[in-house]
């Protein structure tokens, strides 16, 4: 029997090209395995072979995703894969988006099964809704667990075997509902669930509510020339030396800093603490992330009433959604207290 042909997608980091300084490299394909592909091949065993590995810089993919997806499809088509495996991306946001985007394109254009893996809070999960995405831990320390589950599911898909529920196979719910005959009618199940809830016993909902945090849009502001505007960033712009020691990844806090007397940010006074993008451009001119220079000009010209004297910054890199929400609520309360009318948020 011929071996199952697998093509693997990884980013520049796992391809051992480099870190953020290489995040702009265009896609490339090489025969055989690279980096985590070695373990992938080991787990696949003798029945399947990783025939090629395609890799791309995270920024390059994120900024040109349509073009890159098409390029990747063309590159891997030449290797005639039976299945496409991307990642795992764990909690790396741009990498997760790249994995999901590549999987969607490959599935659509080549009509082969695709599998990826990432942490449940990775923004790639939302982009790849409907794909088979194995739920992984949030760090690459769990590479083996992630790849083991991905391989198990991949082999089942390519061999056309029956796929179990998300819990059984370890993939994130795809939003697909399947009909089956239940032993008890809905009313009985609902009352059972209610009784367990009242008794504070564990129960499992049959219809989980979506967890998206949606807020109604604020009404537009009028009379901009009389209003105070504030700036907040997840791009990590802090006073030089990072006085609050905001972490370069998985930030545990945000900072509140003064803009008093500054008509722009300079490389002498500010820098970025963010560890998730190449800091060269932001350190050279921090206004590229937090546009204080032009906001001051607009303040002097009377276009806006006033620029708030304080700004808020954290590092968005790998920061959990729960923490980010907490910082957001705290920052919003302080801005309201200061009678700020509107906020410009910049992210990297």
């Amino acid at each position: 029997m011929e071996k199952i042909r697998v093509v693997h997608y990884i980013n520049q980091f796992f391809a051992q090209i480099g870190a953020e300084d290489k995040a702009h490299v265009p896609p490339e394909i090489k025969q055989g395995v690279i980096g985590p592909g070695i373990l992938l091949q080991k787990l696949l065993g003798d029945s399947a072979e990783v025939v090629a590995t395609v890799f791309c810089g995270d920024n390059y993919y994120a900024e040109k995703s349509d073009v890159v997806s098409e390029e990747i499809v063309n590159m891997i088509a030449a290797y005639k894969p039976d299945i496409f495996i991307a990642g795992p991306a764990f909690n790396a946001g741009r990498y997760g988006i790249a994995c999901s985007t590549a999987c969607l394109s490959v599935a659509k254009k080549l009509s082969i099964p695709v599998v990826t893996g990432m942490f449940k809070e990775n923004p790639g999960v939302e982009i790849g809704r409907g794909l088979y995405i194995i739920e992984t831990a949030n760090s690459a320390a769990k590479m083996k667990d992630a790849l083991t589950a991905m391989v198990g599911l991949a082999l089942k898909l390519v061999n056309d075997e029956e796929i179990g529920t998300p819990e059984e196979e370890g993939y994130l719910p795809r939003g697909v509902r399947e009909n089956y005959f239940a032993e008890k009618i809905g009313a009985v199940r609902a009352v059972d669930m209610l009784l367990r809830k009242l008794a504070e016993e564990p129960y499992e909902t049959e219809y989980p509510l979506p967890s998206f945090d949606r807020v109604p849009a604020s009404p537009p502001i009028i009379d901009l020339k009389d209003r105070m505007i504030a700036v907040v960033t997840s791009g990590g712009i802090v006073p030089k030396g990072n006085p609050d020691r905001i972490e370069s990844s998985s930030a545990s806090k945000f900072g509140e800093y003064s803009l008093a007397g500054l008509d722009k940010l300079t490389s002498a006074g500010h820098e970025t603490a963010h560890g998730g993008y190449d800091p060269v451009y932001a350190n050279e001119d921090p206004n590229r992330v937090l546009p204080i220079d032009v906001l001051r000009q607009l303040e002097q010209e009377g276009v806006i009433g006033k620029l708030h004297e304080l700004y808020y910054a954290t590092v968005g890199n790998g920061t959990s959604v729960a923490n980010a929400k907490k910082y957001g609520e705290d920052i919003a309360a302080r801005l309201k207290e200061a009678a700020v009318s509107a906020v410009i948020l910049t992210s990297t």
Partner: protein, 64 residues
Amino acid sequence: MCTIVPISLTVGANRIIPTIAIPHPLGNPDLSIEEERKLRMSLVKRALAALQTNVTEQTVFKEE
């Protein structure tokens, strides 16, 4: 203001301005200082215009 618009859509931002690049959302080091500042001004003005626009759902304010 962000470069990866799908992330802002996922997290629920209501007024979104697409920007230049991940490491320099509000700048472009390839331009002259004057040109770069002009670019930054136009992006910030677009953000201010968005703040003054009524929206009922998530809206991406693209270049006009």
